[in-house]
């Protein structure tokens, strides 16, 4: 499966509310495979949402297990179809960057603990409780499914001054 190009703002798909997946068929499996390949190809990337590769469907992948922020507190690779946040609590601020908004970072406050329900590619329903960086990453990717960018959530005017070659 190919690594797909990550769309950058102002591509209109990035500000669009995505459609729910109705049936998990071959094209959805291909989409998930492309999302995974694209995530693995991005340096330090911990997630990709379908609209970022040009598909307006509610599908995203998240894997923070290789990131220093997510090590020891994660569910490994998550392929999420039609994810819904059932519960959220707490608040944590992280300085976020996004592959679809290059050269800009900003402080974003998000829930610290979330319970999220979604379908896996096999068709089964799964519910997990995530905390810390994994919770942040899931919320960031799920925002993409609603056409929301981290720019819409920045609460602090401090912005990053540097373009980063590699995230840690």
């Amino acid at each position: 499966m190919p690594v797909r190009t990550i769309l950058s703002y102002p591509h209109p798909l990035l500000k669009q509310v995505c459609q729910a997946v109705e049936t998990i068929e071959g094209d959805i499996h291909a989409l998930v495979a492309d999302l995974l390949d694209t995530m693995l190809a991005g340096p330090g990337s911990v997630g990709v949402a379908a609209p970022q590769i040009g598909v307006a469907l509610r599908v995203c992948v998240v894997d923070v297990s290789a990131s220093r922020h997510g090590k020891g507190n994660n569910h490994g690779l998550l392929c999420m179809i039609n994810p819904v946040i059932m519960q959220s609590s707490g608040a944590a601020v992280m300085r976020e960057g996004c592959m679809s908004v290059p050269d800009y970072t900003g402080d974003v406050e998000r829930s610290q603990e979330i319970t999220v329900r979604f379908l896996e590619p096999a068709g089964n329903e799964r519910e997990i409780s995530a905390t810390g960086f994994e919770a942040v990453a899931i919320q960031h990717e799920m925002d993409h499914l609603d056409g929301v960018l981290f720019l819409d959530r920045i609460t602090c005017l401090k912005t990053g001054l540097f373009r980063r070659k590699n995230y840690r």
Partner: protein, 186 residues
């Protein structure tokens, strides 16, 4: 910013008593001249409003023209004005390889807090990317707060930096903390 040989960049700074309309007044001139605001930071300091802008304009265009056009507006608003032409190597975006840290320093007000801390950082080759200071507390017990963001050279750690600032912390009797704020890529 990538270097474009046909584009000239200028550093413009404007400071004056705060009031509504300063930003609109300055940017109206820039807009009329066809200037781009490539980067900017503007904030209130005490009762002053301070604007620092990196402005670009296609050649041919001169610093003199920019200054002369901004001058009447600044005089009308009672603001100081400075314009400087940037060299090509000043307009490149820098890249940070190491950690980005927030260094917080606070304690009883005394002369030299900013100097002593930043001298240590400079000696370690640490680049300050943002810095704010504020005098808070009461007249009887003034407290000085300095928050700065800094890019550590590759190999330096926040814990290491905090340890290196330990002696200064004792000497000045202030709190010094170092936290990682390196952005996460999502």
């Amino acid at each position: 910013m990538t270097h474009q040989p046909d584009i000239q960049h200028y550093a413009v700074s404007v400071v004056g008593k705060d009031r509504p309309g300063i930003v609109a007044g300055i940017t109206e001139v820039l807009f009329r001249l066809g200037c781009n605001i490539a980067d900017s930071s503007c904030t209130m300091l005490a009762g002053e409003f301070a604007m620092i802008l990196i402005v670009s304009h296609p050649r041919p265009f001169g610093k003199g023209r920019l200054f002369e056009e901004l001058k009447p507006v600044c005089e009308g608003l009672g603001m100081s004005l400075a314009v400087r032409t940037l060299h090509a190597d000043e307009t490149e975006r820098q890249e940070a390889g190491g950690e980005i840290c927030m260094v917080s320093v606070y304690g009883a007000d005394q002369p030299g807090i900013v100097y002593r801390v930043t001298r240590e950082l400079a000696g370690l080759g640490i680049n300050i990317t943002d810095l704010n200071t504020k005098l808070i507390g009461t007249e009887a017990e003034p407290v000085y707060v300095m928050m700065l963001e800094a890019a550590l050279p590759d190999g330096q750690t926040p814990e290491g930096l905090e340890a290196l600032l330990g002696d200064l912390k004792k000497e000045l009797n202030v709190e010094i903390g170092v936290r990682v704020i390196t952005p996460v890529s999502l």
